[in-house]
C-alpha cells in the first residue's frame, strides 16, 4: 500500500483511534511509515477538535427568542388580525364596486340625455 492510499483512507476515516479498527494493509503501512503516522496524528487531532466544537455554543442576541416566539404565536392570537384584514379587504372591494356602479349610472344617464338631444 502506498502513502497516498493510506492518507486518502485516513482523510475518509479519521475517527478510528484504535489500530484494531484499521484494515490490515493500512495497519501494516503505518507500522513502518513515520510520515503516515504523523499524518494520522494530525487527522485524529482534527477530529477530536471538531468533536469538541459540539460543546461550544454561539449565543444569538436577545431579540431572536422574542422574534421566534412571535412567529409561532398561536392562531387564537393571530385570528383577529387576519379577520380585521379580511374585513378591510371585503370593504375595499365593496367600495370599489359601489364607485364603479355609480360611475356607470352617471355615464348611462349622460348618454341617454345626449340621445334625447340628438333625437330632438
Amino acid at each position: 500500500m502506498q502513502c497516498d492510499d493510506v492518507i486518502l483512507y485516513l482523510a475518509q476515516s479519521p475517527d478510528e483511534e484504535s489500530n484494531d479498527y484499521l484494515p490490515l494493509p493500512v495497519r501494516h503501512h503505518l507500522s513502518t511509515c513515520l510520515t503516515c503516522q504523523a499524518e494520522r496524528a494530525h487527522y485524529l487531532r482534527l477530529h477530536r477538535e471538531l468533536r469538541a466544537l459540539r460543546d461550544v455554543v454561539i449565543r444569538p442576541d436577545d431579540r431572536l427568542l422574542t422574534d421566534v416566539l412571535d412567529t409561532v404565536r398561536p392562531p387564537a392570537t393571530v385570528t383577529p388580525i387576519r379577520s380585521s384584514r379580511r374585513k378591510a379587504y371585503v370593504g375595499g372591494i365593496a367600495a370599489a364596486a359601489t364607485a364603479g356602479a355609480a360611475g356607470a349610472l352617471v355615464l348611462v344617464s349622460k348618454l341617454s340625455q345626449k340621445g334625447h338631444r340628438l333625437a330632438g
Binding site: 475518509q12 482534527l46 477538535e49 469538541a52 461550544v56 455554543v57 454561539i58 449565543r59 444569538p60
Partner: protein, 192 residues
C-alpha cells in the same frame, strides 16, 4: 435535560402552547449555533432559526419520536440552512464578528491546556468559515453533529457518494490549513 424536553414535546404535541414556548427557550441557542455554523452569517442564522421553529410548529404532531427531538431539530435546521444557502448565488466571506460570544463548557480543563485548545479551536473555527459552504456543511454535520452520511445526503439534497467526497475534501482542506498555520507558528517560535 432530555427527559424534560421529551415531556415538553409531549405536551406541545397535545396543543399546550406554553410547553411549545418552553421548548423553543430550551433549544433555540443550540439551533442558532448549528444555523450559524452552517451559514456563517448571524442574520442568515436568525432567518434559519425562525424558519425552523415555524416548521416545527406546523409539523410537531407528525414527530413520531423515532429519534431524539434534538436530532429531528438539527435535521430541520440543516435542511433550512441548505435551502437558504441554495438561494445564495455566491459565498460571503465576511469576517467573524469580534463580539460573537462563544461559551466554553469544558471548565475542567487546566489553564494551559485551555489556552492551547482555545487557540486551536479559534483556528479551526476560522478554517471552517474559510471553506466553501458546500464543504463546511458536510464536515459540520458529520464531524461536529454526528449526522450519518445518509442523513447529510437527505438534508442537503445530494447523493451519499457526493456527501462522502465533499467530506473527504473538507477534512483534507482543514488539515492543510491547520497544519500550515501550526508550522508557521512553530517557525516563529523557533526564530524568537
Amino acid at each position: 435535560m432530555s427527559k424534560e424536553i421529551d415531556s415538553l414535546v409531549a405536551k406541545a404535541k397535545d396543543g399546550d402552547h406554553r410547553a411549545f414556548e418552553e421548548l423553543v427557550r430550551e433549544t433555540y441557542v443550540d439551533t442558532y449555533t448549528l444555523a450559524f455554523r452552517l451559514t456563517g452569517d448571524p442574520e442568515d442564522a436568525r432567518d434559519v432559526v425562525q424558519e425552523v421553529y415555524l416548521r416545527v410548529h406546523k409539523s410537531l404532531r407528525r414527530f413520531r419520536g423515532d429519534s431524539q427531538f434534538k436530532t429531528w431539530l438539527h435535521r430541520i435546521t440543516a435542511n433550512c440552512a441548505s435551502t437558504l444557502l441554495g438561494r445564495r448565488t455566491k459565498h460571503r466571506h465576511d469576517p467573524m464578528p469580534e463580539d460573537a460570544p462563544i461559551a466554553d463548557h469544558n471548565p475542567e480543563l487546566d489553564p494551559a491546556a485551555r489556552a492551547d485548545t482555545g487557540v486551536l479551536r479559534n483556528q479551526l473555527t476560522e478554517a471552517l468559515r474559510g471553506l466553501p459552504p458546500k464543504l463546511s456543511a458536510v464536515v459540520v454535520l458529520r464531524d461536529i453533529y454526528d449526522f450519518s452520511h445518509e442523513a447529510i445526503a437527505a438534508e442537503l439534497g445530494i447523493s451519499e457518494s457526493a456527501a462522502k467526497v465533499r467530506l473527504h475534501r473538507a477534512r483534507k482542506r482543514l488539515r492543510e490549513i491547520l497544519h500550515t498555520q501550526q508550522d508557521s507558528e512553530e517557525a516563529e517560535a523557533n526564530a524568537v
